[in-house]
């Protein structure tokens, strides 16, 4: 079964979200408390604002009525209009909104004018005769009081039951005196209280606002009439309202804060008096409702917040899981590689860019490692092969210091220093018979095992020379023809061989493209052996070689070498060269041995290279001829 593991990324993510949720919760709570305060302050302002609107409407109504009365009074004074003119005038004036209707009523008598106009909902005017409705109107306070006091009168709202709702109508009456200051009648206006407040909710966009009006109904023993219901029962309580009215009177026209007068403090709002204490208005908010609303808002925010967090978390979880999946696949494949399966295909087709890049990087590393392992394997193999080849070679090349049988006192020395284990350079020497010494040196081009195998091949062939009593040139011709057919690897050999009669000093030699040897004469002069015809062994069959001769004189030292000497290099990429070689040979002196000559040259090479690694095999052979 697959173990469900949470990676470090998921753990971190979970932790981050828990912390985020806690911080979010704390923050929301803090916000809520702050918001609540601001919210309540806002509601307080809204209530006050609503009240201000009502007050403004009341003022506007009063102003309108005053203006109408003043205007009509002037017109009446000037024109003394007929009854029909009065009707036209009143039609024109009684337009202001909020005033439901109005009229002019004269004292009862013949030909008296008592018309009342009121506005229908459709905007048209209806004209009624007061006398028809109230025959004894002159006894009503709205007529009687202005008449006797000469001052405008406001009547406490009358409660009329119109169809199925109550209508609260305030009546305003203004006395009219003619230009002789005789009382003639009253101007009356009716204001339906509900028009003062009906649209306030819409105006301040809050249906939680309660707008109520109330007044003591004198026709009902002073019982407080409450207009419009409110959510809060205690507000419509008669006792509370009676106290409130007293408080309003004390405030002398200023709105009073209801929270101050409520003992349990569940209401925000304001109250004030209108139309000379004939009716009162209050605008209130129920604190409980506001609280509930705020809480709902809080819960909604919390739920939305938590929901968003969860969705966000799930998304991130999914995203991480999605991006980690290819990593897990890679991890599995890398384990396979670790087990040694280097052919595992690590590449990933799809996935996040970084992961694809990771896979690509691992794939490159895999190729590299595979390549390196292959290299190491090859090198190890090669090194082992090289060692074996070197061992074989060492067993075939004559070891330094071996005495030549019958000439134990011969001054002869040889030196071979391969650049690596196995050498491409070789030398050989042995006595052909009692008097003739065979000497050879060669350089197989190419390196490593194949080259060293060729040196062994050459050394083996040389051993057959005593059986073939032919010239040097023929010997090389034959050797070359033997090598060419087996030379698929294009290995070529520069080769020099010489036979010296140790008694007479007569020498014959041949060269296959090898550097001609130097002879150091007793007097210190250096001569180079005459160049013979012939090029590398192993190129073409039937190549021509020439045999050359040299007569050794007493004290002649022959110095044979491979290009490892002349091409020894220093760190400046300079070559040791022939000139340096020649000068070493010149300077060694006449009394030195063959060994000293070779040592001097090698010492000089080392001093020249100055630690720069040897890149080519170095081989030197030296024979000092004594008569």
């Amino acid at each position: 079964m697959r173990k469900v593991r949470l990676g470090i990324a998921q753990k971190c993510l979970l932790l981050v979200f828990v912390v985020l949720a806690i911080l979010g919760g704390l923050y929301t709570r803090e916000m809520y408390n702050g918001k609540k305060k601001a919210f309540f302050a806002d509601k307080d302002k809204e209530a006050l604002f609503a009240l201000a609107i009502i007050r403004e409407r009341v003022h506007s109504i009063k102003r309108d009525m005053n203006n109408i009365v003043l205007d009509l009074t002037k017109v009446f004074h000037v024109y003394n209009p007929t009854h029909s003119d009065i009707t036209e005038l009143l039609k024109t004036f009684l337009m202001p909104a909020l005033i439901s209707g109005g009229g002019y009523i004269e004292e009862p008598g013949n030909n008296s004018y008592h018309k009342y106009f009121y506005m229908l909902n459709n905007g048209s005017l209806v004209v009624k005769d007061i006398k028809d409705r109230i025959p004894d109107y002159e006894t009503h306070p709205w007529f009687n009081i202005p008449k006797t006091t000469g001052k405008p009168f406001i009547e406490t709202p009358t409660v009329d039951k119109v169809s199925d709702f109550k209508s609260y109508m305030i009546t305003f009456s203004y006395p009219y005196f003619n230009d002789k200051s005789e009382f003639k009648g009253v101007f009356v206006f009716d204001v339906e209280t509900k028009w003062l407040t009906y649209d306030l909710n819409k105006l301040i966009r809050d249906d939680k606002l309660d707008v109520s009006m109330f007044f003591p109904n004198e026709k009902d023993n002073g019982k407080i009439e409450f207009i419009k219901n409110t959510h809060i029962k205690s507000l419509s309580d008669n006792k509370f309202l009676t106290t409130l009215i007293k408080d309003i009177h004390k405030a002398e026209g200023k709105p009073i804060n209801i929270t101050d007068t409520m003992s349990d403090n569940k209401v925000i709002g304001y109250a004030f008096s209108m139309f000379n204490n004939s009716v009162y208005a209050m605008t209130t908010f129920d604190e409980n409702i506001i609280n509930t609303e705020l809480q709902n808002l809080l819960y909604r925010n919390l739920i939305v917040g938590i929901g968003a967090l969860i969705v966000f978390y799930l998304f991130l979880f999914w995203a991480i899981k999605h991006s980690i999946k290819p990593v897990e696949i890679i991890a599995g494949k890398v384990r396979n590689i670790a087990k040694g399966d280097f052919d595992t295909d690590i590449s990933i087709k799809s996935g996040p860019v970084e992961v694809v890049a990771l896979a690509e990087a691992i794939r490159k590393m895999q190729i590299r490692i595979k390549h390196y392992i292959e290299e190491i394997r090859k090198t190890t193999e090669l090194n082992t092969e090289m060692k074996i080849a070197a061992d074989i070679q060492k067993s075939v090349i004559p070891r330094p210091g071996i005495k030549i049988d019958s000439y134990s006192d011969i001054d002869f020395f040889q030196f071979l220093k391969p650049a690596k284990d196995a050498s491409g350079d070789f030398y050989d020497y042995y006595m052909l018979d009692d008097e003739n010494l065979f000497l050879s040196i060669g350089d197989v081009t190419g390196k490593g095992v194949p080259a060293s195998l060729f040196t062994v091949l050459m050394l083996s062939m040389e051993k057959l020379y005593p059986e073939i009593p032919i010239s040097m040139s023929d010997t090389l011709f034959m050797v070359n023809n033997k090598i060419v057919p087996m030379n698929k690897l294009n290995i070529f050999i520069s080769y020099f061989c010489m036979v010296i009669n140790l008694k007479t000093g007569v020498a014959r030699y041949a060269s296959a493209g090898h550097d001609p040897a130097y002879i150091r004469k007793k007097d210190g002069t250096i001569v180079q052996l005459k160049k013979s015809i012939g090029t590398f062994l192993g190129i073409f069959e039937d190549m021509k070689f020439s045999e050359e001769h040299y007569q050794f004189e007493d004290g002649d030292a022959i110095f044979i070498y491979t290009d490892g000497v002349t091409e020894a290099m220093n760190s400046k990429q300079e070559l040791f060269g022939k000139d340096r070689t020649v000068s070493v040979l010149k300077e060694v002196g006449s009394e030195v041995t063959a060994k000293d000559i070779i040592s001097s040259v090698y010492k000089e090479i080392n001093a020249f290279a100055d630690g720069f690694p040897q890149s080519d095999d170095i081989c030197m052979v030296c024979l000092k001829f004594r008569n």
């Binding site: 090898h514 160049k531 090029t535 590398f536 290009d563 890149s615």
Partner: protein, 110 residues
């Protein structure tokens, strides 16, 4: 370093070797061998400063290839160490060597 400049001159491939033909650069030289196979070739050594035994081996490989494909290479403008090495190696037995490019061109023009 070795720069190899190849030019085609009237059906003769002129190969100018600039720098050193040694164990490091001989493989660069050998890369051109397939292209040179079967052709008449002038190896211009005018600006060749040095040739090592690995370089000589490359030359021999080229000569062997041309021998089979009936092409021919000549060398010209040898000097200094290069001249010495080529002479010592007995390469005059393998291909013709001219003192200058004109002589080499003349040889192929015949």
């Amino acid at each position: 370093m070795l720069d190899i400049v190849l030019e085609d001159k009237n059906g003769v491939k002129l190969v100018s070797l600039v720098g050193e033909l040694n164990v490091k650069t001989s493989s660069d030289f050998e890369k051109h061998f397939d292209e040179l196979d079967g052709s008449k070739i002038i190896l211009n050594a005018d600006k060749l400063d040095y040739i090592s035994s690995a370089g000589l081996r490359s030359l021999v490989i080229l000569i062997k290839k041309l021998y089979i494909s009936k092409g021919e290479a000549v060398m010209c403008s040898l000097s200094g160490v290069v001249k010495e090495v080529i002479e010592v190696s007995g390469f005059e037995n393998l291909f013709k060597i001219f003192d200058n490019l004109e002589d080499a061109e003349k040889y192929f023009a015949q």
